[in-house]
C-alpha cells in the first residue's frame, strides 16, 4: 500500500494573552490508502487541532509554526486558498462532534447537501439534488427525496450525523476525518454510526482518521492507533499490538490499567489520576511525568522522542518513553518505590 497522507513535524500553537499554548508539538504520522487510523487521547491533548491543521481550518489565534502535510506528495501547508478549498470536501472530508449544530438551520437539507456537489463536481442543481437523495438513502435515511425538503431541526441527532457523513463523503474524498463523531450521541446510535462509517469505508475504500476518547470503538474500526498526549504522539502501533502490548504508561492508563501513583490505593486499577498539563511551554521533560507511576529522574529533565519499541511484536510500534515498562514491577502496597533506576 502506498502512503496517502504524510504528516511531518507538524507544530501548531495558539497565541494567548500570556504567551502561547503549544497544542501540537512536532507530530508526524502517515496514513496509507484505505487505512483506518484511530487517534486517541484525553480531552485537550491536541487531537482536533492536529486534524484541523491538516486542512488549515484553525481559529484565528492559531498558527502552524512548522511541518509538512503531504497529500499524495503535495504539501497542503503550501498551496493557495483556492487549491485548499478544492482539497477540503473534495479530497479530505470531515465530520465533527456535534451534529446538532453542524448543519445550517436556515437552509434545507437538499440545498445544503447539493452545495459541495455543485461546487466541487460542477453538477447542475438538479443532478446534485438527485445525487443528494441517493446519498441520503445510502447513509440509511429512507425516502431521501422527500427529506431533502426538510430543515435540520426536523432531523434527530443521529440522522444529522448521517447527513453530515453523506455530505462529507459526497465528493468521494480520499480521506475522511471523523472528529469524535459519536460522542454527542446515544450509545445505540453511536454503534450505528460506527457501523455506517465502516460500511461506507469498505465500499468506497476511503482512508479514515477516527478521533475518539473511547478505546472500545478503536478495537472495532481501526487498523492502526495513534495515542496523543500534551500535543505529542506518545505511542503509535497496529491496533492489535497496542491492545496486547501497550508500551507507554499513558496508553496503559487509557486502558484503565494503570497502577496508581504512589500506591496508596494499593493494587486496585484506576483511571489516570491528575490532568493533562497546560501546554504553556514546550517541556524539557516528559509531559506525563507528574502522573506517571513509572517516572524516573530522567523523565523530569528530558522529553523522550517517539522511537521503535524494543522487541516489538509488530512492525511500526513506536513509543515515547524512557522506561521499558515490561521491566518494571509496579508499586503495590507492599512495594516501595522502584522507580529511580
Amino acid at each position: 500500500m502506498s502512503v496517502l497522507l504524510d504528516v511531518q513535524e507538524l507544530q501548531t500553537r495558539f497565541r494567548v494573552r500570556k504567551g502561547h499554548v503549544y497544542a501540537v508539538n512536532g507530530v508526524s504520522f502517515q496514513l496509507e490508502e484505505g487505512e483506518t487510523l484511530a487517534v486517541v487521547g484525553e480531552s485537550g491533548c491536541g487531537k482536533s487541532v492536529t486534524m484541523l491543521s491538516l486542512v488549515r481550518l484553525l481559529p484565528p489565534a492559531a498558527s502552524i509554526e512548522n511541518g509538512q502535510v503531504l497529500l499524495r506528495g503535495e504539501d497542503l501547508l503550501q498551496i493557495d486558498q483556492r487549491q485548499l478549498r478544492d482539497v477540503r470536501g473534495g479530497q479530505i472530508g470531515m465530520i465533527f462532534q456535534d451534529p446538532m449544530t453542524s448543519l445550517n438551520p436556515f437552509i434545507n437539507i437538499g440545498t445544503q447537501m447539493a452545495e459541495p456537489l455543485i461546487y466541487h463536481r460542477g453538477m447542475s442543481k438538479k443532478d446534485a439534488l438527485d445525487r443528494s437523495a441517493e446519498l441520503l438513502e445510502m447513509v440509511g435515511i429512507p425516502d431521501g427525496k422527500a427529506r431533502l425538503r426538510e430543515y435540520p431541526h426536523q432531523f434527530s441527532g443521529g440522522m444529522r450525523q448521517r447527513v453530515m457523513i453523506a455530505m462529507s463523503m459526497s465528493c468521494e474524498p480520499a480521506v475522511l476525518i471523523a472528529d469524535e463523531p459519536t460522542t454527542a450521541l446515544d450509545v445505540t446510535i453511536q454503534a450505528q454510526i460506527v457501523e455506517l462509517v465502516k460500511e461506507l469505508r469498505d465500499r468506497s475504500g476511503v482512508a479514515v482518521i477516527w478521533i475518539t476518547h473511547d478505546l472500545s470503538v478503536v478495537a472495532g474500526i481501526a487498523d492502526r492507533v495513534i495515542v496523543m498526549y500534551a500535543g505529542y504522539i506518545v505511542e503509535e502501533a497496529p491496533v492489535d499490538a497496542l491492545f496486547e502490548d501497550p508500551r507507554h504508561p499513558y496508553t496503559v492508563g487509557l486502558m484503565g490499567a494503570l497502577p496508581s501513583l504512589g500506591g496508596e490505593t494499593g493494587t486496585r486499577l484506576t483511571t489516570i489520576g491528575g490532568s493533562p498539563p497546560d501546554l504553556v511551554d514546550l517541556p524539557d521533560f516528559c509531559p506525563f511525568h507528574p502522573r506517571c507511576p513509572y517516572a524516573i529522574d530522567r523523565c523530569r529533565t528530558e522529553n523522550p522522542m517517539l522511537e521503535p519499541v524494543a522487541e516489538a511484536s509488530d512492525r511500526g510500534h513506536n513509543a515515547a518513553c524512557w522506561v521499558d515498562i515490561r521491566d518494571v514491577k509496579v508499586q503495590t502496597e507492599t512495594d516501595t518505590a522502584i522507580a529511580g533506576g
Binding site: G93, T101, S102, G110, E115, Y119, H120, K125, D130
Partner: protein, 323 residues
C-alpha cells in the same frame, strides 16, 4: 436549454422552488400569524399618513380658528380643536410624520453605530471588544430619560449660541432655524440610548455564528468565504436584527413621546404625539378628546410594532417551525 431539460423537472426541483428560500418561507409564516398581519395594517397606515398626511388633512396643522377654540368633536372638526383652535385630527396626522421620522432616523443612526461598534468588537475581540462592552454597559446603566434631559440641558444653549454665531458670521439663514438644534439633540439622545442594544446584539451574533459548527463544517466542505457569508452568517444574523429593529422603531417613537412629555422632545411647529398628550393632560377632565386621540394612536402603533416583532421572530426562526 433543451426541451429534454425543461420537461425533466423532477419533484425535487418543485420542492426546491417552494422551500429553498428562507425568506419566502418566513413571509408565508408571517402571513399565517394573525397578530402580525393585524399589526401590519396600522404600521403601513402610519407610513402612508406620514408620507401623504399633508394632502389628507382637512386643515393645516397650524391653522388657528379662534372662533372654535377647544371645540368638541363635530362633523367640522372630527376630533375637536385645541386651545388655539387647531384641528386635532389634522395634528394627529401630521404627528405621524414626527413619529416616523424619529423612528426611522434614530433607528438608522443607532443601527449604523451599533453595527460598526458591534462588528468591531466581534471581529477584533481583545481590547476593542472590552472597550465597546464597557461603553455599552456605561450607556445602558444610565436611565434613558435622565440622559435625554441631561443632554438637552447641557447642550441646547451652547448649540443655539453656536448657531447664532454661525448665522452672524455667514448670514446663512439655515443657522436661524433653531429647530435643527432640537432635531440633532433628540435624534442624538435617541441614538445614544439605542445603539448599545444593537451593538451588543451584533457582537453576540458575530461571536456566536463565527464559532458555530455549521460554519466550520461548511469551510471543511470547501465552501468559499463569500458563500459562507451570504448563506451561513448573514441569514443567521438577520433574524434577531430584524426583530430588534422592528421593536426599536416602536421604542424610539415611545421614547420621543416621553421626551416631548418632559419638555425635551422635538420643539417643532410640527406636532408630536407626545407633545399633544402632555398638552392634553392638563385638561383631560374637561376636554378628554385632546388626550384620547394621540394616546390611542401611540398605543396602537407601539402594540403593532411589538406584535410585528414577535411575528417576525417566529417567522424567521426555523426552530419554531415545528416538525
Amino acid at each position: 436549454m433543451t426541451t429534454q431539460e425543461i420537461t425533466a423537472t423532477s419533484d425535487i426541483e418543485i420542492a426546491e422552488a417552494s422551500r429553498t428560500n428562507l425568506w419566502r418561507d418566513a413571509v408565508a409564516r408571517l402571513a399565517a400569524n394573525r397578530l402580525a398581519v393585524v399589526a401590519i395594517l396600522p404600521i403601513v397606515l402610519l407610513f402612508f399618513i406620514a408620507a401623504f398626511g399633508p394632502y389628507l388633512t382637512p386643515y393645516d396643522f397650524l391653522a388657528q380658528d379662534f372662533t372654535a377654540r377647544l371645540a368638541s368633536p363635530s362633523s367640522e372638526h372630527w376630533l375637536g380643536t385645541d386651545e388655539l383652535g387647531r384641528d386635532v385630527f389634522s395634528r394627529i396626522l401630521y404627528g405621524a410624520r414626527t413619529a416616523v421620522s424619529v423612528g426611522l432616523v434614530s433607528t438608522a443612526i443607532s443601527l449604523i453605530v451599533g453595527l460598526v461598534m458591534g462588528s468591531l468588537a466581534g471581529y477584533l475581540g481583545g481590547r476593542v471588544d472590552m472597550l465597546v462592552v464597557w461603553l455599552t454597559d456605561v450607556t445602558r446603566s444610565m436611565p434613558a430619560l435622565l440622559l435625554a434631559i441631561v443632554i438637552n440641558l447641557t447642550l441646547k444653549v451652547p448649540l443655539e449660541a453656536w448657531m447664532e454665531q454661525m448665522y452672524l458670521a455667514t448670514k446663512n439663514t439655515f443657522f436661524r432655524q433653531t429647530m435643527w438644534v432640537d432635531l440633532v439633540l433628540v435624534f442624538g439622545a435617541l441614538a445614544l440610548i439605542q445603539w448599545p442594544g444593537y451593538a451588543r446584539l451584533i457582537r453576540g451574533q458575530i461571536l456566536s455564528i463565527r464559532s458555530r459548527n455549521y460554519v466550520l463544517a461548511a469551510r471543511a466542505l470547501g465552501m468559499p468565504t463569500g458563500r459562507i457569508l451570504t448563506r451561513y452568517v448573514i441569514p443567521n444574523a438577520m433574524g434577531p436584527l430584524i426583530v430588534a429593529v422592528s421593536a426599536g422603531m416602536g421604542g424610539a417613537m415611545v421614547l420621543e413621546s416621553a421626551f416631548s412629555f418632559l419638555g425635551v422632545g422635538v420643539q417643532l411647529p410640527i406636532p408630536s404625539w407626545g407633545k399633544m398628550i402632555s398638552d392634553g393632560l392638563r385638561m383631560w377632565q374637561t376636554h378628554p378628546y385632546l388626550l384620547v386621540g394621540p394616546a390611542v394612536m401611540m398605543a396602537v402603533i407601539t402594540v403593532s410594532f411589538a406584535w410585528l416583532g414577535d411575528g417576525l421572530n417566529d417567522a424567521l426562526n426555523p426552530r419554531q417551525w415545528g416538525g
